[in-house]
Symmetry: C2
Subunit: 202 residues, 2 copies
DNA sequence: CACCGGTAGGCAATTTTTTGCCTATTTCAT
DNA sequence: ATGAAATAGGCAAAAAATTGCCTACCGGTG
């Protein structure tokens, strides 16, 4: 599978050794990595580059991973965040998950595990990596409820289509929806099955 | 105002002492408690009584709390589940949260803490929507499209209500929606304006 | 007390969505 | 070539959501 969409990861950790090792490992596996050794640096990267996933240490001097993630949510409410930490309290994990963490890994992070997580994310987010996500995040304020809900519905259908490689029957089953209804929705929302699946196997 | 909605808690734990102590405590605080000492028993209670919240031990013989919760999700996708456990692995906590746990408490459970959690649930989020990502991902797949879209819509309306401190006129404007429609949606989705704003200024 | 602004419900007309039934097209294997 | 399976579209009935209009309640104020 080629990278049909940029998959840029922002790696945040105050430990430069960890940062270096992990970023080298990920780069060796064809993942675009940006690094930051502090929350401030991370915000700069975020402002200047299109970032798809954030992987951050929970414990950092000054600004904890939780605070950092909470702030990021202000501008990028939907960006997936993966936390890791060596000695996490149960309450930290709960807080992180409530904040929308997609994963929480134990430090030291197994490079392979991280890679696996990123691959899983890439898969499930493909639908929005292209256009929908921007539409989505841009849509976050000032748009009508209907617009936002439709954007979300579009995203759901697209990801499901991709996940099932364009197999309509499987999508119907997974989404528990009437075939006729799905077809209509796809037309209304401008979803092209063929475009999605052809993009898949590039 | 008294509890305008029945608030029945199903307490699941294989330790009968814990079960007895906690249920007595909660009953003394005006909460309807049903108990079950196994997943099977819990399913019976669920089938026979209207239950609003489930509080379950993570570790149980036969069927773990996670499996139990996953099965419950099949029939009651939106019911809030609170887990507790004495020696939880990080991965358990993450799995539980992904499954839509609203809280994860450490065992032994502080009765007061549990009570507080239940009060918070009663007052506001009777659903599961604590974070955008939960709404967004719809958690595990396997929910119908309709369910996931509704969950997202509920989340959007609730956040907007909170953001505008319960000012309906402002919400109407922000969401660009008809007043009558918003009222209907709130009823359908089980959103209580008063609960949300009273929770806000606690 | 009467009035006003903000909120909410009843009801019916209207609009939109969903669904079922039937048919067309494409692809793939026999 | 023929048939089976998967995907789509037309169309109309049925169901659901939206809307406007009117009324009602509540808390504060003149």
């Amino acid at each position: 599978m080629k990278a049909m969409a940029p998959h840029a990861v922002l790696l945040v950790d105050d430990d430069l050794d960890v940062l270096g090792a992990n970023s080298r490992f990920l780069r060796a596996h064809d993942i675009d990595v940006l690094v930051a050794d502090s929350a401030e640096a991370a915000f700069h990267r975020l402002a200047e580059h299109p970032i798809d996933v954030i992987v951050t240490d929970l414990r950092m001097p000054k600004c904890s991973g939780l605070e950092f993630a909470a702030q990021v949510r202000e501008s990028r409410p939907l960006i997936p965040v993966v936390f890791f930490s060596g000695y996490a309290q149960l309450s930290d994990v709960v807080a992180a998950m409530k904040l929308g963490a997609v994963e929480f890994l134990e430090k030291p992070v197994e490079p392979d595990e991280l890679l696996q997580v990123l691959h899983r994310l890439r898969q499930s987010y493909q639908g929005m990596l292209a256009s929908p996500r921007q539409a989505f995040e841009g849509l976050h304020q000032g748009y009508s409820l209907k617009m936002r809900v439709l954007a979300y519905e579009k995203y759901l259908i697209e990801s499901c289509l991709i996940e099932h490689e364009g197999n309509i029957a499987a999508v119907l089953d997974s989404l528990q929806i009437n075939r006729r209804t799905l077809n209509d929705k796809m037309i209304r929302l401008g979803i092209s099955r063929t475009a999605l699946i052809s993009r898949e196997d590039e």
